[in-house]
Structures are given as C-alpha cells and as structure tokens.
Amino acid sequence: MSGRAWRNAGRLWLALVLLFLYLPIAVMAAMSLNASPFYQLPFEFSWRWYEDLAGNRQLQRAAWTSIWIAATTAGLATALGTAAAVALHRGPRGRRVLEALLFPPIAVPWLITGTAMLVFFFLVGIGRGNGAVLVGHVALAIPYVVLVVSARLRALDPALEEAARSLGASRWTAFRSVTLPFLAPGVIAGALFAFAVSFDQFVISYFLQAPGETTLPVEIYAAIRKGFTPEINAVSSLVIGVSMALLLLVARLVRFGDLR
C-alpha cells in the first residue's frame, strides 16, 4: 500500500472508533426525543419525555442531591488537593511514597473501595447516607486534583517565585502574588474535574447511599433494573450532556498532554 492509502486507512480506523464510541450515546439521545415509548421507527419528534421529567419529583430530588454533593466534593477536594500538590512540588521527604499513595484510590476497583468504605463506615458508626457518600467522593477526587494541579506546577518556572522572594516578598506573598495566579487555570480545572468525578460516580454512591436519598446515577440504575423507560433516556442524555460539557471546560483550561 502507498503512504496515502495507509494514512487513509488509519483515518478510517479512527473514524470507526469514534463511531463506536458515540453511536450508542447518539442513539440514546435521539430516542429520548422520539415520541414512541417502544423505540418505534419511524422517528417522531417529541419533547414529551423531557416534560415527564419536569413532573418527576424523585428524579429531581436525586438530581439536586447529585449536584450539591458534587459541588461540595469539588470545593473540599480542590482545597485539599491543591495544598497537597503545592507541598509535593516542594519535594518533601518521602515524596515518591506520597505520590504513589495517590494511585490506590484511582486504581483499586471501585467495587472493592466502595464495599470497604461501607464496612468501615458501619463499624465506626457513620453508617450509610449522603455524609458517607461525600467522604468517599472527596477521597476519590483528591488524587485527580493533585495530578491536574501538579501538571500545572511543573510548568511553573521556579525562578519566578525565587525572584519574588529575592525582591523581598515573604514566602506567602510570593506564593499569593506569583504562584497562585499562575496556578489558577489548573486549580479551576481540578475543581471541575472533581465535580465531574463526583457527579458521574456510581459505584461508591451505590454502596454508601441510604435508601430514599439517592444520587442521580443510583436512581437511574434502579430505574434501569426495573425496566426501560424513555424517561430514563431523557435524564441520561441530560446527565451525559452535563458531564461532557464540564470536561470540555476542563480541556480548555489544561492541555491533556500535561496530565502525563
């Protein structure tokens, strides 16, 4: 094959991969706008499933629970994670170990982390509920915030802060006036990331939630297991729309290549 043929074959491959990734999501979104509840074709446009959503108190409550937990997670994880990233950047003793400790929360299957949290929270008396969910979400989000902010910190010229200090700024002033403004995009990206991690999290929430006050993914899961309804298509399309929009925002703030 010639070079051009190879390149075109490669592009076709990538196009097929993207088709594979987006086709189900696109079909789901399309079906959420189809009037027929049984996925009947031909397609007949209708907002009726979204209108039904407006009347579904249970899903609305779940949505609010998801949003406030995600927002609180974002705030806490960003504060804790940014502080840790800044400290790690100073190269403290044991830095390698501390960095390695960030990976178990990401890498251990959530099933195991989630059930372990369930067991532990029960034994120490926290039990299940949104408080437990929040503790779990923050723990999962911290490593991501540290990674995003650290990537930004690595791009910071250490001479900048040193210059500020040689000009008489205290460590704190130098940090506030030089480092922090430089870090801002990374911190904002980290916060959005943490929000997305929590908003999309299913497994941990599933194990830690008390019945009756669920987050959106858990509610959707329960509905799916009960049976398929186009209403679930509608809320799922909204959820995926929100999380993709969030991540596009993150991508504007950090280049994904920096996340190495």
Binding site: L18, F20, Y39, A84, A116, R255
Partner: protein, 288 residues
C-alpha cells in the same frame, strides 16, 4: 548555602501542614477501610448487630476451595483479559493515527473527542448500549427496516454484550496512554527508519511498538484491574449471563449480607489481578 536549621524546620512544618489534610482524608476514607476490610475477611460472621464472631481462615478456604468461586474467578479474569485485548487491538492503532497521521491542527480536537466519553457518566453509557442491543431494540429494528431479514433476540443479556459494553467503557484508556507514549516518539526516529529502507510494517514492529509498549501496557493494566471487578456492566448488559466474581461480591454486601465472605472474595480477586500483572510485567519488559 543551606538555610539554618530553624528555617528548614519551619518550612518542613509548613509543607507537612499542607500535606496533612489530604492524606488524612485519604487514610480515613480509603486506606483504613481497606485495612479494616482485610481484617473483616478473617472473621466468621459480619461483626454487626451484636453477632458473635471469631477469627478464622474459613472465608478464604471457601473462596479458594469451592469450584463455583474458582470458576467465577476464572470467568472474571478471562473477561478482563478479553476486554483488555480488544481495547489494545482497537485502541493502539487509533492512538498511532492520532499521534502521527492526523495533522496538528485537528489532532487536539480529535484526541479530546476520543477520551471525552471516558470521563463522562459510565453508567449512562452502559445503559445506552442496552438500548442499542436489546431484543427488538434499535439495532434489530434498523436491520429489519433496511433488509428483509427477521431479527430476533438481540444481543442484550449475552456475554458478548458485556464485552462490548466494557470495551466501550475502557477503550479510551489505551488511546490515552498509547497516544501519550507514541507522541513522545520523535518524528525523526520514524524518518530515520524510513531513510534506512524500513517498510511501514517494520517501522511499526521494531520502532513504534517497542517504544510505546510501556504506555500501552500501563493502559492495559488500568483496564484489566477494574474490569476484573466489574459488576454494574454485567448486571445491566449480561442478565443471567452476567454472573461474575464482581456481581457475587456485590451480592455479599447488598443481598446476602455476608461481609467477611465478600471481603475475602474481594481480596482474592485483588490478589489474582495483581498476580496476573506481576507475571505479565517481565514479558512486557522482554518484548522491548
């Protein structure tokens, strides 16, 4: 010049104060629970509600000794292996195309498009496959609408459906890590290979593949571990065919309420997964 000890000590205290909240949180929410669960796995009974319990190895004996659980473990590891393989086969070339074939202007956008689903809601994406694959679902209807064929049954509630859904869920991992490691291979290396007369096949096999293998292997490990413990995807897409170790572990905590056994199964799974990774690591190194 070293700062005087007092100054150094003060800075060290400041650093520790910045580190402490995050790591204490991780300890309380991840490391302690994992430790406690390890302890629970050696108990006879769920230590809750005033039940009598004693220390035992019985849970592990049951988890490792009963053929049913050995079979489930085998199924889970096979599923993880199969999903990982598909992700590598599909994702590695895609990563190469992204890194080296697509022009720099469209590369960023396409890369983002490829990894975007990965960070969007996993549950919802699995659900979207259920819509597509169910009997009388969209695929069936489309095939019937476009061809004279009668389709029945659909793919939903088969092992294939579980594999498809998991590949969809984890494919972006390989694309991400593969893309990062292939981008790090300079164009000059590829040009050098061609100027020395190497075909594209030889260049890929002898230069691109060995140099990007560590990245792809990292991506594969990141897929293998969670897939071995998957329970939500098999439940939604697998139906009765979707019984794996992950779903059985879930049952121990949510239905059967046998925490010690669930914990033992979890650690058996974790150990098996780590063992597979440990065995394959030297192979990866040797292949370079």
């Amino acid at each position: 010049m070293r700062p005087p000890p007092s100054l150094r000590a003060r800075e060290a205290r400041g650093t520790a104060a910045l580190l402490a909240p995050a790591y204490l949180w991780l300890t309380a929410a991840v490391f302690l629970p994992l430790g406690v669960m390890l302890g629970v796995s050696f108990l006879t009974e769920t230590p809750f509600g005033g039940r009598e319990w004693a220390v035992t190895l019985g849970q592990y004996e049951a988890a490792l000794g009963k053929p049913l659980y050995r079979e489930l473990l085998r199924r889970s590891l096979l599923l993880a292996g199969e999903v990982t393989l598909w992700c590598v086969v599909i994702g590695w070339p895609a990563a190469f195309v992204l890194a080296k074939v697509i022009g720099p202007r469209r590369r960023g956008a396409l890369f983002l498009l490829t990894i975007l689903p990965f960070w969007s809601n996993g549950l919802v994406r699995v659900f979207s496959w259920a819509i597509l694959l169910r009997g009388d679902g969209v695929i069936d209807r489309a095939v019937e609408g476009l061809t004279p064929l009668e389709v029945e049954g659909g793919l939903l509630f088969t092992r294939e459906a579980v594999v498809i859904g998991l590949v969809h869920a984890y494919l972006p991992y390989v694309v991400l890590t593969g893309y990062l490691s292939i981008s790090a291979i300079g164009d000059d290396l590829l040009e050098a290979a061609r100027s020395l007369g190497a075909s594209r096949r030889l260049t890929f096999l002898r230069v691109v593949a060995p140099l990007s293998l560590p990245g792809v292997a990292a991506g594969a490990a990141l897929i293998f571990v969670p897939v071995a413990g998957a329970f939500m995807e098999p439940r939604i897409l697998g139906g009765r065919e979707g019984t794996f170790l992950g779903t059985v572990i879930e049952d121990q905590f949510t239905a059967v309420f046998n925490w010690p056994f669930g914990a033992a199964l979890s650690f058996v799974l974790l150990a098996a997964v780590l063992a597979v990774l440990a065995v394959s690591a030297p192979a990866v190194r040797a292949a370079r």
